[in-house]
């Protein structure tokens, strides 16, 4: 069905709590991405995964880690969330790195 699904869509966490954002895709794409979107800053790449257990830091990886144990699933973890991690997080996938990205609907995280 060519879909990228993100869970949860909305999340409120207290500072210092752990956060798990999950992403799945049904296109067998080997490359998956996590971006965050902030007003005036656009889409910033947090991590890229070229396949299972083959992850690389993006432009703003500090404070985040990822896990990819299955090709169709890519998780973003925030250990001890900070207020400046309040943002909208987008997962995406592509057939081959640097090709057309298919985005999920986004996960809005608020850290208070």
């Amino acid at each position: 069905d060519m879909k990228v699904t993100q869970m949860p869509r909305y999340l409120i966490k207290r500072m210092g709590e752990n956060v798990l954002l999950e992403c799945g895709q049904d296109m067998s794409h080997e490359t998956m991405y996590w971006y965050r979107q902030d007003p005036g800053l656009g889409l910033q790449l947090i991590y890229i995964s070229y396949d299972v257990d083959s992850n690389s830091e993006g432009d703003i990886p500090k404070g985040y880690r990822v896990s990819r144990k299955k090709r169709e699933h890519f998780s973003l973890i925030l250990d001890s969330a900070k207020t400046n991690q309040t943002s909208v997080y987008f997962c995406a996938s592509s057939l081959g790195a640097g090709n057309t990205l298919y985005f999920g609907e986004g996960s809005r995280l608020i850290v208070v």
Binding site: Y35, G42, L43, L45, S56, F90, G98, L101
Partner: protein
């Protein structure tokens, strides 16, 4: 390093007027560019992408021409519609040593008024 510049944060137009959203880039290798569109509360999605030959990509009335001489890939449409109101991102394929990725500009918000 490679980069994408979108100089306008907000473009406001009256319905029926032509649209041009600017995108310039710096690329180490042969450039390959994309335009993504994001409507309110939706996911970004591909609008169009450059071709390796001289063809001009078009979609939903939008078109863009890759000009290597001026390092530009401006998005154009002859007549704006209310439904074109959205956030538009220009993106450049970046060829890295560990793998390719896309570099996005900061986006241009297009607001079309009646």
């Amino acid at each position: 390093g490679d980069s994408v510049t979108q100089t306008e944060g907000l473009v406001t137009l009256t319905e029926g007027l032509p649209v041009m959203l600017n995108c310039t880039y710096q690329s180490t290798y042969s450039p390959f560019l994309f335009w993504y569109v994001q409507h309110l509360n939706e996911a970004p999605k591909l609008l169009l992408k450059s071709f390796t030959d001289n063809k001009r990509p078009e979609h939903q009335g939008f078109h863009a021409t890759l000009h290597k001489s001026s390092s530009s890939f401006h998005l154009q449409k002859s007549s704006a519609q209310l439904s074109d109101s959205a956030l538009y991102y220009c993106a450049l394929r970046n060829y890295g040593s560990s793998g390719n990725k896309l570099i996005f500009g900061i986006g241009t918000l297009l607001s079309v008024k009646p």
